[in-house]
Symmetry: C2
Subunit: 219 residues, 2 copies
């Protein structure tokens, strides 16, 4: 429980029905804000999509900013949870490739619409909504930490050179994912994403090879 300033805070639901309503609103808002952007999503839009009245939205989320904040938190946790099994085991080249390819398949499925759920929100809100920016920074940090943790294990295991800057590699991979998704979104084709990500992973693979060269046969 952090100290909050004047910011609006969303209220939890007390009853079962309320919980379902709140959830319905959140899901609808998340979907719409992803597909049309935050500014492009009006409260009436959310009302229609979630089949609720305006008062319900304002009851649970205070105002649009509160709803947006809730959507950010929702998307962050959802994306993290979806990838949890993979995210916790990014300690091999194959695992990295598998994880990134999973995202590529999703891109294909939606014709690259929307790009990254978090990235799109970040681009739209970072400069205008400081508290949103913090939430998004946290989401990216968790992602980065997951990658870095896997790379660190590889380094400890000797798959990467002892002096390898795994933090830089993690940032580079995250950037490749975000930038790749943006390029794919603009081109409506997942190829740029795949290329960008694969180049970075190739680079990591080269580092693995470099580590092997020093300790040729360890396992």
């Amino acid at each position: 429980m952090q100290t909050r300033g004047v910011e609006t805070q969303s209220k939890a639901a007390s009853t079962e029905g309320g919980r379902r309503t709140r959830d319905r609103i959140l899901r609808a808002a998340a979907e719409l804000m992803f597909k049309q952007g935050v500014a492009g999503t009006s409260i009436p839009d959310v009302q229609r999509h979630a089949q609720v009245s305006a008062s319900q939205i304002y009851h649970y989320f205070g105002d649009k900013k509160g709803l947006t904040a809730a959507v950010i938190e929702y998307q962050s946790t959802v994306k993290l949870e979806q990838q949890r099994p993979l995210l916790d085991n990014l300690d091999s080249i194959d695992a990295l490739r598998e994880w990134c390819e999973r995202a590529a398949v999703r891109l294909d499925a939606v014709r690259c619409a929307g790009g990254c759920e978090i990235g799109s929100l970040a681009s739209e809100l970072s400069d205008s909504d400081p508290s949103a920016r913090l939430g998004l920074a946290k989401a990216f940090a968790e992602w980065q930490a997951a990658i870095e943790s896997g790379l660190t294990r590889m380094r400890e295991r000797g798959d990467l050179p002892p002096d390898e800057d795994v933090a830089a590699l993690a940032v580079a991979l995250l950037a490749a994912i975000q930038g790749g998704m943006l390029l794919s979104q603009v081109n409506q084709d997942a190829t740029p994403y795949r290329r960008a990500v694969n180049v970075v992973i190739d680079h990591i693979a080269d580092r693995v090879a470099a580590a092997r060269a020093v300790r040729p046969t360890d396992h």
Copy 2:
């Protein structure tokens, strides 16, 4: 002169004064849309900033979509022109580093606000405005072509292996730039951008080393 559909087209100015007005509007709109996003920039905003009346904007650009399209074209050409001398000579590791570092310095100067002029527009408009998407895709394509062209020269010169996939490297660098700028924007710190870009350039440098290994002493 391309075949246009129902799209609004911006009208050129006939008089000198008109030209200056049109320019003032364009510059103001570009700046505001960059700093606040397209949706966050209203026509009255542009009016105030450019010191013009509403009719002048509608006179020269038809409607907001037309103004947005003009801004996209404007930003594309401006960014390209700004970097022209560097862009045309991206045929060495040093040149690549210099070019990317130039952007990093700009990021520092604005505390990473706004990210990339083109990237931000791309993220906001790609899914909602098809013709904007095309314009942005073109801008990215020109950038990618410039990088690829430099890398191709390096390959022809023997600085890169003959079978090196320079298109993939170019996309990867562009993605690192875009993704890195996004991460830097969210974190209000240019470090992520620098790390992401440097990792990719390091990778290219490794490839140069690989090419040298095959033809040790050529020059």
